[in-house]
Symmetry: C2
Subunit: 368 residues, 2 copies
């Protein structure tokens, strides 16, 4: 797949042009999102939703620039790109945190409702309905939620709380309190970061990119294909290291091993999966450079990516439930509900690994 790229019959387009064009476009998006964010007041009042969207757009561009600098490193001024990349990573991390806490709370409150039988669904629709809610849960609800009013100790936003046990309701309220506080802090930290001199330096560098990409002298004659192929190889190598044999067996119970271990979260067994998720993203960005008009749709790669997102979300939600259970002086019923919730999310982790294995297997067959 990474073997086909820009039209080789067009003599005016060089590989370096493709990289430079991609970086310029992302840099322009970055600067536009920054302007929107400033105009909407950083989410302080009425423009909260637009401001949240702008912050996510900033992060989106920052990640793509950083990934491209990494994959196509030999084409770019090394000192310059090596100093910019960690700064972009810092920015993307800072900007993503608020959104992550909001999505985590949505996921956990949704799970509490499901576990309480509050949202019964027909058995036949179980699997697609859950996949859909996972995909939607990682974006829509968080963006739609006004940041300012989310602060406080309000009960969970679940539609039907009548069916919740005392334990589930208390667990929901506790998670809401903790994750809303974390989210509010992340929001402040993001605002503070965007006003810092460190950020201004990043924005200046991105502004340079938008007009003139610092290419190396040999860039015009370079070949993009081996660089993109190397990104793909790094992904495949990392996948080879995953315990896919175990993941292929449904209900292998691997994700909940250590579910009660004295070691605190995060689970070390999740790390290689998170790493594959990052490498899959880099592979995707490399494809975006190779296919500037439109990346050919690869349903299986999309499914693999969604499975890894779900893996990450469930892993972090499970850790949040375990962390909440360590809150001093909670009621036993609350702790019990958090235990069920933790185990439920660890099984989501296992289910996501199974889903990844299934989609990856299909891919390997189709491209061989």
């Amino acid at each position: 797949m990474a073997q086909q790229h820009l039209d080789p019959t067009d003599p005016t387009v060089t590989p370096a042009d493709a990289v430079a064009g991609y970086l310029r476009a992302r840099a322009t998006e970055f600067l536009r999102a920054l302007r929107t964010h400033r105009e909407t007041g950083g989410g302080a009042a009425a423009g909260a939703e637009e401001s949240t969207d702008a912050a996510l757009a900033l992060r989106r561009s920052a990640r793509r620039i950083s990934g491209t600098l990494h994959t196509f490193r030999p084409l770019l001024d090394t000192d310059w790109s090596d100093s910019l990349r960690p700064e972009l990573a810092w920015l993307a991390g800072t900007l993503g945190r608020e959104h992550a806490y909001a999505a985590r709370l949505d996921r956990l409150v949704g799970a509490l409702n499901r576990l309480s039988g509050a949202t019964p669904f027909p058995a036949q629709q179980t699997v697609p309905a859950r996949s859909a809610s996972v995909a939607a849960g990682s974006r829509t609800p968080a963006a739609a939620r006004p940041a300012a009013s989310a602060v406080g100790t309000r009960p969970p936003a679940a539609p039907d709380r009548g069916n919740l046990t005392v334990g589930a309701a208390k667990a929901g309220a506790l998670l809401d309190r903790q994750l809303t506080l974390a989210r509010t802090r992340a929001h402040s930290a993001a605002l503070q970061a965007l006003g810092s001199s460190r950020f201004h330096a990043v924005a200046d560098s991105v502004a340079v990119l938008a007009s003139e990409v610092p290419l190396t002298p040999t860039a015009p004659t370079a070949d993009l294909r081996p660089l993109a192929a190397a990104a793909h190889d790094r992904l495949c190598d990392a996948v080879t290291g995953l315990p896919l044999h175990t993941a292929a067996h449904p209900y292998n119970a691997e994700a909940l091993v250590h579910g009660l271990s004295p070691d605190t979260a995060p689970h070390p067994q999740d790390a290689p999966w998170h790493q594959v998720r990052l490498l899959l993203r880099l592979h995707r960005y490399a494809l975006e450079v190779l296919y500037p008009e439109a990346v050919p749709v690869d349903v299986r790669l999309l499914a693999a990516g969604e499975a890894l997102n779900r893996h990450r979300d469930a892993s972090e939600a499970g850790s949040a439930a375990a962390a909440a259970a360590r809150t001093p002086r909670i009621a036993p019923a609350t702790a019990y509900a958090l235990g069920v919730l933790h185990a439920d999310q660890r099984h989501e982790v296992e289910a996501a690994r199974f889903a990844f294995q299934q989609s990856w297997q299909k891919e390997a067959v189709s491209t061989s």
Copy 2:
């Protein structure tokens, strides 16, 4: 399968002989087990293990006699067999309880160790290792455990307690206390039952069976095949009513819906599966009558039966964990561990349904 039976070329063997022979053999086993139980003193002291084995052998014979009276009812004196069957069911239930509590405790302590990472196993061996332990766990450890010394509040019998968290250790101790108490009571109830006049009436009826089976006048000319086929049909009809479509999707999360519902255990969704388990057993006993020498080994039917046993065991263990969490004044860490344990067992329930669906699917294909 139920279409082939006794050698039709042998003029001396009638269908009624087959039923009568089977009942006589089971009745003889019953009386032998009863004698052993009396000789070993009912498990009061040194002969505890033999006594436990004898009680299980009594139950084994009682269930087979009862099942045969049910499936081949038209061949037997109706008043007599209809009055004996509920008495055999009472006896089998009473005798099985002690063993069930012991097996449940073993299962839960084993799960606590697994969840604490105390017994790490290589990833590749996960699935077979667990299946084996499930099969073994329902028999060997309970039988090997001396009943008298099991009373008390000793900590869980886990091999490696160093890795248990405080919560897991306390949860284990609580379950041990509750299930050992229940087991001790069940042991006393079984001893009391075996000394009751109600039991003596059952034993008298079984003694009649051992010498002379009360057949109906038309029994010698009856055909066993439609009766055995009817037992098989009842099994297949009940399987048709199971949500196999959902069970076929790994990680459908169906078993943990209502995991936090205010309704207490047992889960109503488990009942149809328990019913299929009973019907599968009746089908198996009918095959034993048809094939008096040796029932042809059907690996798939064995796998289906094992999956349903595992379903029942996990269902009851999950309920025991939930019940223990309702103990007043437990520590939050204990409640948390019990919540994780409950969810873990509900996932075992889901895994068992998946395993049943897989083996049943294979059977349907092979016999069509």
